[in-house]
């Protein structure tokens, strides 16, 4: 067997090949995780800046903003005033002077802030963590193999993502500022610098996303190949843990969806740099702004499911473990994920109900979109069913999973409103949409990510995260999250548009200012709470309580590997799988868990 031969390759590695240009899927997974956490702070910081502007329009931001006295009378009283004095004295236009004179956020800068907040959170935080970190770390371990099918491609996938992040970061500092046409980059606003004044920022945005696309593409090819070809003996498809199913489905979505975005981005770059008119309509002819929307959302909607499916997968791992019960309806969970992935391809038009698209087409998209409620409901009911008659342990990962389910319920139910075309006619482009996306992607994906990090941390770093800090982080995040995003539903029902920098300019929105201030306060609390997580994460790497091999008593294969997991993952031959992944509390068994590697001695109970 090539397994034994592979296992003997335990030569010493240099620092660079072990930690930087590593080919080991576990190291690459951890690299993606830290990458995602760093970008999480960049993306979150941008959000706090624009939240300030929404609560206190035209007022200087705290700490670096100039004092009132300085702004009115030019009298220097604070350290910040001194800084502004220095900035104004120089001849050249400094970055701060252009974007936030006196610390007041300019409208163009505001557009850039929310554009980059979403771009970073979607492409540089949630996807890298869910797919890059958990995908890389878990797939080989959980299907019982020694590494990914293509380790070099895997390394390439990470370093392409780093390159994309660097290019994206440069965009902040080019003349004209970074992309400011929304994360959806609607043309013609994004297609011609004359409409925004943004020149290379938008180009770099497109180029960076093109590269990020390659990174995802390379990663997904790797995942699909690995899952199809390299499962341990006995690991049939229907004995795979649900998180692996979710990552498998997501890899297929990414493989098929990202090239569509890449093509659209390439055309956008041509429009901007080569004078083509794919996305601009002129009287003489040319292209069509709606073409961009169709291409973007044909990618974008499957992308939205890329953001949530692995979260569902993680919750489906954690809930059985901490309920000490098999997952309820394993197969229907798999079919529901496949159904969501399939429907994801035929619903993109619901983003375009009010775009000028043929109304009849809108009717068709309304029906397909509504249908997504069906597999989503199946999943929710199955999670509830898993807890039914369980023995629920309220560990930190479980708390995050419960939060995931509850927040996903709210995000799912609010989706029904905008799936409905006539109602969408009112709430489209309002804060209702903002509330919905955050309930799904923050309330959903991020709670699953937090739960997953705490759960697999012992396997990743051989230590536990501090549980007290985890609990504080959880409760602060849970409360602050709901205080931040729930009121946005109400703003949306009141007609509050998204992407406006100053709601006070509108008479019908002035009554909402108190709510905007409350949201901003909550957002700052939410941001501060994340510092606890990051401190805990890095502190526990070296100081946490040392973890045993399988501290949570889990059945799946990653817990069969020693801690810390060596190069090659398993000692001796790869494990053989005899049963499904969720054999908890089997009647007649003394232990309440039966690892997948334990041979059958009773009639078949789980899996296939």
């Amino acid at each position: 067997m090539h397994d034994n031969e592979h296992a003997s390759h335990h030569h010493e590695e240099s620092f660079i090949s072990k930690y930087i240009f590593s080919l080991d899927h576990k190291t690459i997974g951890k690299q993606f995780l830290i990458y995602g956490l760093i970008m999480f702070f960049v993306g979150g910081g941008l959000a706090l800046l624009f939240r300030w502007q929404l609560a206190y329009p035209e007022r200087p931001v705290p700490i670096i903003g100039a004092s009132e006295k300085y702004m009115e009378e030019g009298e220097v009283t604070t350290g910040a005033d001194k800084m502004w004095e220095r900035i104004y004295e120089t001849d050249e236009e400094e970055w701060l002077e252009v974007n936030m004179p006196n610390g007041v956020i300019e409208p163009a800068f505001y557009n850039m802030l929310f554009t980059m907040h979403a771009t970073i959170m979607v492409f540089f935080v949630v996807v890298p963590i869910l797919v890059g970190a958990f995908g890389n770390f878990l797939i080989p371990l959980m299907i019982g193999t020694r590494d990914m099918a293509f380790p070099i491609l895997n390394m390439l996938s990470f370093w392409l993502a780093v390159l994309a992040a660097i290019i994206m970061a440069i965009g902040f500092f080019v003349p004209g500022g970074h992309a400011a046409a929304g994360w959806t980059g609607y043309a013609p606003l994004s297609a011609d610098p004359q409409w925004t004044g943004v020149d290379w920022g938008q180009n770099l945005w497109a180029i960076s996303l093109l590269i990020q696309g390659f990174s995802s593409l390379v990663g997904s090819i790797n995942y699909i190949t690995t899952i199809i070809n390299m499962r341990a003996p006995g690991m049939t498809l229907f004995r795979m843990p649900l998180v692996i199913w979710s990552l498998f489905i997501v890899a297929i979505l990414l493989l098929l969806a990202f090239p569509v975005l890449s093509s659209a981005l390439a055309l956008l770059i041509f429009d901007r740099l080569a004078g083509t008119t794919f996305f601009t309509a002129t009287a003489e002819g040319g292209g069509d702004p709606l073409l961009w929307q169709h291409l973007f959302w044909f990618f974008g909607h499957p992308e939205v499911y890329v953001l949530i499916l692995p979260g569902m997968g993680i919750a489906s791992e954690l809930i059985p473990v901490f309920s000490r019960k098999p997952i309820f309806g394993y197969r229907s969970m798999v079919y529901a994920m496949i159904a969501i992935a399939f429907l994801g391809w035929i619903v993109w038009g619901h983003h375009m109900f009010q775009s000028g698209m043929q109304p009849t087409l809108g009717s068709a998209f309304m029906m397909t979109t509504m249908l997504i409620a069906v597999p989503s409901a199946i999943k929710t009911f199955n999670w509830l069913g898993t807890m039914y008659k369980g023995s629920i342990q309220f560990t930190s990962p479980m708390l995050h999973s419960i939060a995931f389910v509850s927040m996903f319920v709210i995000g799912g139910l609010s989706g029904i409103y905008m799936a409905n075309a006539p109602v969408d006619g009112f709430i489209h482009d309002t804060y209702y949409i903002v509330a919905h996306i955050h309930y799904v992607v923050f309330g959903g994906s991020l709670f699953a990510i937090f739960g997953g990090i705490i759960f697999w941390f012992p396997k990743m770093y051989g230590r536990h995260m501090n549980d007290v800090l985890n609990k504080i982080h959880f409760w602060l995040t849970f409360v602050a999250f709901n205080c931040t995003f729930f009121p946005m539903h109400i703003l949306g029902v009141g007609g509050h548009m998204r992407r406006i920098s100053n709601p006070m300019q509108y008479e019908f929105l002035q009554g909402f200012q108190g709510m905007n201030i409350f949201i901003t306060m909550s957002a700052f609390t939410l941001g501060a709470a994340q510092l606890i997580l990051v401190f805990n994460f890095f502190w526990s790497m070296s100081r946490g309580k040392v973890a045993e091999k399988n501290p949570w008593h889990v059945n799946t294969l990653e817990w069969e590997a020693p801690t810390p997991v060596p190069h090659g993952n398993f000692v001796g031959p790869v494990p053989t799988v005899y049963r499904g992944p969720y054999e908890y509390s089997v009647p007649g068994e003394e232990s309440d868990w039966i690892p997948q590697v334990q041979p059958e001695h009773a009639p078949a109970t789980g899996g296939d």
Binding site: Y186, F394, L413, Y417, V423, G494
Partner: protein, 221 residues
């Protein structure tokens, strides 16, 4: 939640609000049931010393029940919404022969309103152009020929429950019938550049007599 909806002043707005209410009550009931069940489970089935979980792998009957129930509800909602959607957006189902026709064009960062004048034809000498001010009579069918000059804008009147993107070089027909006089804001709802926030027009709904007077003042013959 519902009391936050702005006042409705259009003929089709009540229909939109009705669907909104139906969805609101359905989702509220589902939310309470699901969360209630979750909380009961969390309390009742919390880990207790000496108690083991019950081994249950699933239930085909339950899967079929909740799949079917959800399908019926969402299918019903969609069917209920089709007439409403077509009434608002489908040009075949608009009331024909408008009482007033106006061309509205979004441009960074204003709404340009063009009235065709007495000949009821756009692009003639008697056209009247107004910036950010739209005047219409109450209880009359208004057709808007919506377009944009530069980027995409979105014509949004919250009180009319009406939103429609305006696209360059495309003319989209929009209709409404206002049921109450007053002055209402017309924000732009689609990001259109650095002046997007504050791009704001006004819809002035006049009584028929006031509107006639306004017309007479503009086109004296």
């Amino acid at each position: 939640m519902l009391q936050w909806l702005p006042e409705n002043i259009s003929t089709f707005g009540q229909g939109v609000d009705n669907i909104f209410h139906i969805i609101y009550y359905i989702t509220l009931v589902v939310f309470i049931l699901v969360m209630g069940t979750l909380i009961i489970f969390l309390i009742k089935y919390r880990h207790q010393a000496g108690q083991k979980a019950t081994y249950i792998e699933g239930s085909t009957t339950l899967e079929i029940v909740w799949t079917a129930a959800t399908t019926v509800i969402v299918f019903g909602l969609a069917m209920l919404s089709y007439p409403q959607w077509n009434q608002i957006k489908s040009p075949n189902e608009f009331p024909a022969n408008p009482d007033v026709l106006v061309q509205v064009s979004g441009k960074q960062f204003n709404w340009d309103m063009t009235y065709p004048g007495p000949d009821n034809e756009l692009g003639t000498d008697d056209d009247l152009e107004l910036e950010n001010e739209l005047h219409v009579p109450v209880n009359a069918v208004v057709h808007i020929r919506l377009t944009a000059e530069d980027v995409i804008h979105s014509f949004f009147v919250p009180q009319l429950r009406l939103k429609q993107d305006a696209l360059p070089n495309r003319f989209i027909n929009v209709w409404f019938e206002a049921t109450k006089t007053g002055r209402y804001e017309i924000p732009c709802a689609e990001l259109c550049g650095f002046g997007h926030s504050g791009m704001l027009g006004y819809l002035n709904v006049h009584s028929q007599a006031d509107y006639d007077a306004w017309v007479k003042e503009r086109w004296p013959q």
